[in-house]
């Protein structure tokens, strides 16, 4: 009897999680599709308060720019650190501490990455900027990339390292021409997952990239991004702005879901060693 109750409980719990998930996806796509007006939504600026029409092209560009800044910092930094952890310092005290710190950094709330970027970049430079937003997102992405790349490198069989050293390559040549190509699909998965995570974060951008109602591409100026735009537009009492928030939510969810699914598919793709 007890086991029947428990078994049905697990079924109920599983359904109970799936329902809100489907509700979010359905609501966002239904409300979002209604508001999408091609091509205005993607090419126009938001309307002044009280008026209708318009779009959020500037926020899409802004999201791409901040992500580009963040990945140009976090991707080389993260991959090279992971190469040390997996190839040169495997099992060392330094590697242990760095991994520990990266794991803890993954758990640090995203908003604190924003506070950090505020006090390191915004305060000395005297204003909000796309660059500071990139720095905040880079802090967020770094531990994800380090961990994913390290795991990817550890999966490369040791025979390949021995073979490379055996034919006389240096460790640099081994890593660059043998190990990295072998681990590339898994590394790309990690980077894309980090990008997907960063693309959806509003909290670190609130007081770094801030917001901008106009087209901006200068990295030293405040810039609009999709998550921050959704936040600001959802808490003001104008119907037109709220509608735009839903459309932006749909675009953002689509971007993030596509990133996550692509990342998982890329990870499934077999590297040549397996």
């Amino acid at each position: 009897m007890l086991s029947i109750i428990l078994t049905s409980l697990t079924f109920i719990f599983t359904t109970a999680i799936l329902i809100p998930l489907f509700m979010v996806v359905i609501n966002v796509s239904a409300k979002g599709v209604n508001q999408l007006k091609f091509p205005d939504t993607f090419t126009q600026l938001p309307p002044p308060p009280g008026l209708t029409e318009g779009g959020f092209g500037h926020a899409i560009i802004g999201t791409l720019i901040t992500l580009a800044i963040a990945s140009s910092i976090a991707v080389p930094f993260g991959i090279l650190s992971a190469i040390y952890l997996a190839e040169f310092g495997r099992g060392s005290k330094i590697a242990y501490l760095v991994k520990f710190s990266a794991n803890v950094l993954t758990g640090v709330p995203a908003i604190l990455c924003g506070l950090f970027a505020y006090s390191v970049v915004v305060m000395p430079m005297g204003g909000f900027s796309a660059f500071s937003g990139g720095v905040a997102l880079a802090v967020l992405m770094l531990p994800i990339i380090v961990r994913a790349t390290e795991e990817a490198l550890l999966l490369v069989p040791n025979e390949m390292r021995q073979a490379a050293i055996g034919v006389g390559s240096t460790r640099f040549q081994m890593v660059i021409s043998i190990i990295i190509p072998a681990a590339l699909p898994a590394i790309i998965t990690g980077v894309v997952l980090a990008l997907a995570r960063a693309a959806g974060e509003a909290a670190p951008l609130l007081f770094t990239a801030f917001n901008n109602n106009f087209w901006a591409t200068d990295p030293m100026q405040p810039i609009a991004t999709l998550p921050v735009l959704i936040y600001f537009f959802s808490i003001i009492p104008y119907k037109a702005s709220q509608d735009l928030a839903w459309a932006a939510a749909m675009v953002l969810v689509a971007i993030v879901l596509i990133f996550s699914i692509v990342a998982r598919l890329a990870g499934k793709q077999k590297a040549f060693y397996s």
Binding site: I94, S101, P109, G200, I235
Partner: protein, 322 residues
């Protein structure tokens, strides 16, 4: 006829030593670069902590530890304290855990214990992982415009029927309240608990399960008395990580908690969280207020470091046993 010696004379011998030394420089340089960057990557955490502490110094000097027990947040008189925010953060996280722990462990059991075939569990597991990918600001938007209107009658019902219990009491229930934030947070942390608990169950030695079943235990006796105790450290660390995530989640709290600077025993009333405070106040903050917000961030940092380091240590101890 050309001999080998002739050819060898004509072809200049490659300067072997020069090549080796440039390779060697590159090799050592690369090693040094990766070492330097690895150490810097490790130091980022310390840098983040120190920088936040440094920026909150003026507020620490001004308010000291009294900051943690003060109920006021007044930019006019420049008196700041975060007691209501600490309370709200703990209450919403507690509600989230209260729901997410049984649900998460239950679903993890459902997905690993072969109640239904793999071709059903695999897509379900994939769908649950996708919840993590939904940006929190989108969940906040959904919460404001869909979930709160939907739950309003339910809040009213709780208040009418169980109003004599203080946590459901207070005046008329509000849409923005601690309970709804806890609910959405539980949705956000459940996938984390599921995925870690699942992998814990999957790495348990098969002999445990086989031994228990051979002794005549039923499936649920095996799950409750053998598998869950054996995987307890994994479950606990997943709960710690989930707690850390719930405390640090910003947008859902900022958009739905109501940002009311007060402590109300009723979870159907608006409250505040540390993250919501930082997100909603930072825009128009003056110098001392920015410092006070940094101090609030530091409090959050300490809370999240404690749970994350505990989780990490538990996971590592568990892995060493494996």
């Amino acid at each position: 006829m050309t001999t080998f010696d002739d050819i060898q004379d004509k072809v200049p011998a490659p300067s072997l030593e020069k090549k080796i030394s440039s390779d060697r420089v590159l090799d050592v340089g690369f090693w040094g670069l990766t070492l330097l960057l690895a150490i810097s990557a490790g130091a980022v955490l310390i840098w983040v902590i120190l920088q936040t502490a440094n920026s909150s110094l003026p507020a620490i000097q001004q308010f000291g530890l009294g900051f943690l027990t003060t109920m006021t947040w007044n930019p006019v008189t420049n008196i700041y304290g975060v007691l209501p925010q600490i309370y709200g953060t703990l209450v919403t996280s507690f509600i989230a855990l209260l729901i997410a722990i049984p649900v998460g462990v239950g679903v993890a059991v459902f997905l690993t214990e072969d109640f239904v075939p793999r071709y059903i569990t695999t897509p379900i597991a994939f769908a649950i992982e996708l919840i993590v990918a939904i940006p929190s600001v989108v969940l906040g938007l959904w919460g404001i415009f869909v979930l709160i209107p939907f739950l309003r009658p339910f809040f009213q019902f709780l208040n009418n029927t169980f109003g004599w219990i203080p946590i459901f009491g207070g005046g008329a229930p509000r849409g923005n309240n601690l309970l709804v934030v806890g609910l959405v947070l539980s949705l956000m942390i459940v996938p984390l608990i599921i995925s870690i608990t699942r992998s814990t169950f999957e790495v348990l030695p098969p002999s445990l399960r086989a031994g228990s079943l051979a002794l005549g235990a039923t499936r649920w006796e095996t799950i409750l008395k053998v598998l869950i105790p054996a995987g307890l450290s994994g479950i606990i660390s997943s709960v710690m990580l989930a707690l850390g995530r719930a405390m640090g989640e910003t947008m859902v709290a900022a958009m739905m908690v109501g940002n009311a600077n007060r402590i109300d025993i009723s979870i159907l009333q608006p409250g505040a969280t540390i993250t919501g405070l930082i997100a909603s106040q930072f825009g128009e903050a003056g110098r001392l207020q920015v410092s006070a917000l940094m101090y609030a961030g530091l409090v959050l940092m300490v809370l999240s470091l404690i749970v994350n380091i505990l989780a990490e240590l538990i996971i590592r101890r568990f892995q060493n046993i494996e």
